[in-house]
């Protein structure tokens, strides 16, 4: 019996899927990427070609952010671009950081940074009072 078992070696590999996060991150990069083709490239063309940094003033920003349409455009851009960019950085960093504890720490710091940036900038845009500069 013992001999039979040793001749029929079966490899049992226990694989536990901890979370679907990586799958969602992969899909998010592609979905947000398609949206950013419109939002980010549109932002560059509108603000840097049709308009120009050389005549940009805080009054010009106030004129745009006087409408909720522009505010929503920029808030949407913020919500997609910051997580897309930071997750891209995470993908790159994980190629060069090999210590699992360091990877975990870096991931937590990056996640914290995304949350802080998105909240801070969303508050800034949502509460921006255009009438102060007109």
């Amino acid at each position: 019996m013992a001999a039979a078992t040793s001749s029929q070696k079966i490899t049992v590999r226990k694989f536990q899927v901890h979370s679907n996060f990586e799958r969602f991150a992969y899909l998010f990069m592609r979905m947000s990427g398609v949206a950013l083709l419109i939002l980010a490239v549109g932002h560059m063309l509108i603000q840097h070609v049709l308009n120009s940094s050389s005549n940009l003033t805080i009054e010009f920003v106030a004129a745009q952010w006087d409408s909720w349409g522009w505010k929503v455009y920029d808030i949407l851009l913020l919500w997609l671009a910051i997580p897309h960019g930071i997750n891209g950085l995470r993908n790159i960093l994980e190629d060069y950081i090999h210590n699992p504890a360091t990877v975990k720490l870096v991931n937590r710091l990056l996640a914290l940074f995304v949350v802080a940036t998105v909240i801070w900038a969303t508050i800034g845009m949502a509460l921006f009072d255009a009438s102060r500069f007109q």
Binding site: L37, V49, S54, I58, W65, G85, Y96, T117, M125, R132
Partner: protein
């Protein structure tokens, strides 16, 4: 850190042709965009939280060297966008994988066709801005002092 240096060295030596160049260009343009994006987002939030600082930074963005940086970001966004669409399409369409090389060429072509006229237009804008200031006896090579924007202080 040593693996990073190794990667940079080997990335420049490795002769992986178009796929390797696309991979490097996507990463480098992504990092460039993110570096600027983070500054841009926190800076723009100042329009609400600290208008004086925002008004000063808007003046800073008109400095010619930073305007050249703006051009670099424009290139990075355009390339990253079109190459990202190529990656997404090929990820979901394995039957197109035989066209890897051609797709990379298409992306570079779209990028150059869009970027070259935009670059010429933006560079002429920088020169126009500088010559306009020069006509008024001023210069674009000078950043206005922070105190000039005190009228925007809360």
């Amino acid at each position: 850190m040593s693996s990073l240096i190794l990667t940079i060295r080997e990335s420049l030596r490795y002769r992986g042709r178009s796929g390797h160049i696309s991979w490097m260009a996507h990463r480098v343009s992504g990092i460039a965009i993110l570096a600027f994006l983070v500054i841009h987002v926190w800076d723009t939030a100042n329009a609400h939280f600290w208008p004086q600082a925002y008004a000063w930074s808007v003046a800073l963005f008109k400095y010619p060297l930073i305007a050249v940086g703006e051009l670099v970001i424009m290139a990075a966004v355009l390339y990253h966008a079109f190459n990202g669409i190529r990656i997404t399409l090929l990820d979901f369409k394995p039957e197109w994988w035989m066209h890897q090389q051609r797709s990379a060429t298409i992306v570079w072509t779209i990028f150059l066709v869009l970027f070259i006229p935009i670059a010429i237009y933006m560079i002429s804008g920088i020169f126009g801005h500088c010559s306009e200031l020069a006509a008024h006896g001023s210069t674009c090579w000078q950043i206005p002092p922070f105190s000039d924007f005190a009228k925007y202080a809360n």
